[in-house]
Subunit: 427 residues, 2 copies
Amino acid sequence: MIDKIFLLEQVRVLKNLLRWTLIILPVSIAIGSMVALFLWLLHLCIHFRFEHPWLLYFLPLAGLLIHFAYKLYGKNAERGNNLIIDEIHEPGGGIPKRMAPLVLLSTVVTHLFGGSAGREGTAVQIGGSIAQAFSKWFGLNDKETGILLTAGVAAGFGAVFGTPLTGAIFALEVLTIGRIQYQAVFPCLVASLIGDLTVSAWQVHHTSYRIDAIDIPNYFDAYFSLNPLLLIKVVIASIAFGLASLLFAQMVHRMKHLFLSVFSKTWIVPMVGGLTIILLTFILGKPDYLSLGVDAEYNGAITIPSAFQAGGADTWSWLWKTIYTSVTLSSGFKGGEVTPLFYIGATLGNTLSTLLDAPVSLFAALGFLAVFAGATNTPLACTIMGVELFGGEYVLYFAIACYTAYFFSGHNGIYSAQKIGIKKLDA
Amino acid sequence: MIDKIFLLEQVRVLKNLLRWTLIILPVSIAIGSMVALFLWLLHLCIHFRFEHPWLLYFLPLAGLLIHFAYKLYGKNAERGNNLIIDEIHEPGGGIPKRMAPLVLLSTVVTHLFGGSAGREGTAVQIGGSIAQAFSKWFGLNDKETGILLTAGVAAGFGAVFGTPLTGAIFALEVLTIGRIQYQAVFPCLVASLIGDLTVSAWQVHHTSYRIDAIDIPNYFDAYFSLNPLLLIKVVIASIAFGLASLLFAQMVHRMKHLFLSVFSKTWIVPMVGGLTIILLTFILGKPDYLSLGVDAEYNGAITIPSAFQAGGADTWSWLWKTIYTSVTLSSGFKGGEVTPLFYIGATLGNTLSTLLDAPVSLFAALGFLAVFAGATNTPLACTIMGVELFGGEYVLYFAIACYTAYFFSGHNGIYSAQKIGIKKLDA
């Protein structure tokens, strides 16, 4: 019944998948190990700063250090994630090997002195840079290099957040707005999985989040499986999440331009950025918006986990974190955007849950996912991330929040190298 | 900070989304209502046959009836799902209104007399046909009609299985192998959601499945969050699931050709098909592989839910269901392929769990999803379906199973109208 040719096709598929598995294995173990080292150093630095808060005063100097490190040794590594996206779309000069150690160290320095930044950019750049190096050693052609780079992004992302499936989907989805292609799906899945397993083999663990059981009356219980009232609240909140993504992406882009147009010497920019952060912290009188925002510096600090509880965030926490992070990143400090986006989303979700009389932990989770989805244009990856981090019960709300935010966040996300496949107005 | 133009874009997006919501609302309420009617009739017919098993003897005559109904009144409705996929890719003569009632009634007749078939084909055709009718009434252009048809597929699928998110992703993913485009993502989400809500408003309920808590030792517990041994077993099983998809799709295609080449009169084919089913049931001495396979005809019958328990399926149940369903569908009876694919997958998963010493309910669930993913080339939709039906805990295994099966199922799935975007060997 079955054609010989068909089984031959399966054998070819099997060979191809085994070949890619063998290629991916060392690459993603290397990426996972470096990400584990990064997460471990980050944890040390953040807690060291908690014990020595005066380190903040050296933030301008730290910025200067990072600035000159990139200027003297960086080559084109300064372009970060955008360089990787460009190289996947159209291979050019390649990604320099030095990008991985440079971004690792400068992110750790940023956090040691209290800069407000994230982790995913660093992990993605570690992934891209290591993948590029292996690609040269293995003598892969341009097309294969593109696939390996995509897998490197998947490994970095999956490893840093402990979300392997999200890592794979993110790497495929982030390249082009409005389109996912399965070109590199298998290498991405393997890479992300091995990257995550490597981090857990190094005994580095991730923060776990929890959505409380929701106990609100559903007046339509007799008719609908879903709560239509809650659904409408989710949509309204998600439009706000999308606008918060837009605000964040615009602030980062425009503040960078502003800094460069005001100061003729580029090395002044990180000094001014660092001073601004110090000033803001004085004005607010608390260090909550510095650094990563995951672990608490003191009892009662506003963090991502605290935003999942009633009263765990101030009304304007999301705006302060937006300002802190855009100042930090646009003045040349290093790190990712994603953890700050989680912070902005979770705290905004907390605020909106009060306004809309909605369950706090659910809305914090929706904000966490949706602001990230809007800013990076990866609604599907963020929906999956919701399942990997918070469980599957609310997957439909996750998807609605992520896609709604995606539609309202505009076409200029945080990655300017992203291509536009399908315009949002057409969707 | 924010450009006026940017907020104008958001207003245009909002207008566009509201416009589509207004268009989709009546369409998906109509589709959901007709699907609810279909599910209700199906339930009645299946249980009526349970009480009157002699109805099986009339299966050949029922086939004859369906054959002439389509010959005399069907126009091009006979092409079913493929016609809808074609019309979405390239609008042509449109989908006839009569497709919806014809496929509904003929599927109900197929099940009343014991034909082995599913439901999703029927629901998708109801969705496509109703969407086409509304599109004409609303005076939509070709591009908009394509979007509305896609949304109709989403509404039908989401409504029939009670899995709204899966419905939307399925409609986007099924069109082209290896590519998902967000062209119609918003209308699909709304349509699928409203379709599902409509079914639940009509008080029609779906079968629920459950994966038992897995209690197997993970020898690597100290090192890895995942169980590597289980992972390898999942991959091996999923290659088998992919080959089962390939076998199913090939059997349906080839048996149709065989029937048409052997019998000069086409009306003989359904008679022969019906007689074959009767004969097979005599040989096996039990009615387990007739009809849908969800509810049990007697205590101890092999059904999809029974396959989730140890001993709940025979070693070759999956092969018998493959034969029953390909005979039924290739001889002109109506219904979908998906529920039989669920049955084949769950029973094969049950068998493999014994062979591989793996948890039964998990492997039944993986088979359930993966055989369907392989046969329809929709691995992402099936991963999401896993979350919607079984919860999010095993989402990574769901994805690995669905993508592995997808790679091993070849390029000729059950929908011949599906285009190839990215070849599997390239992925």
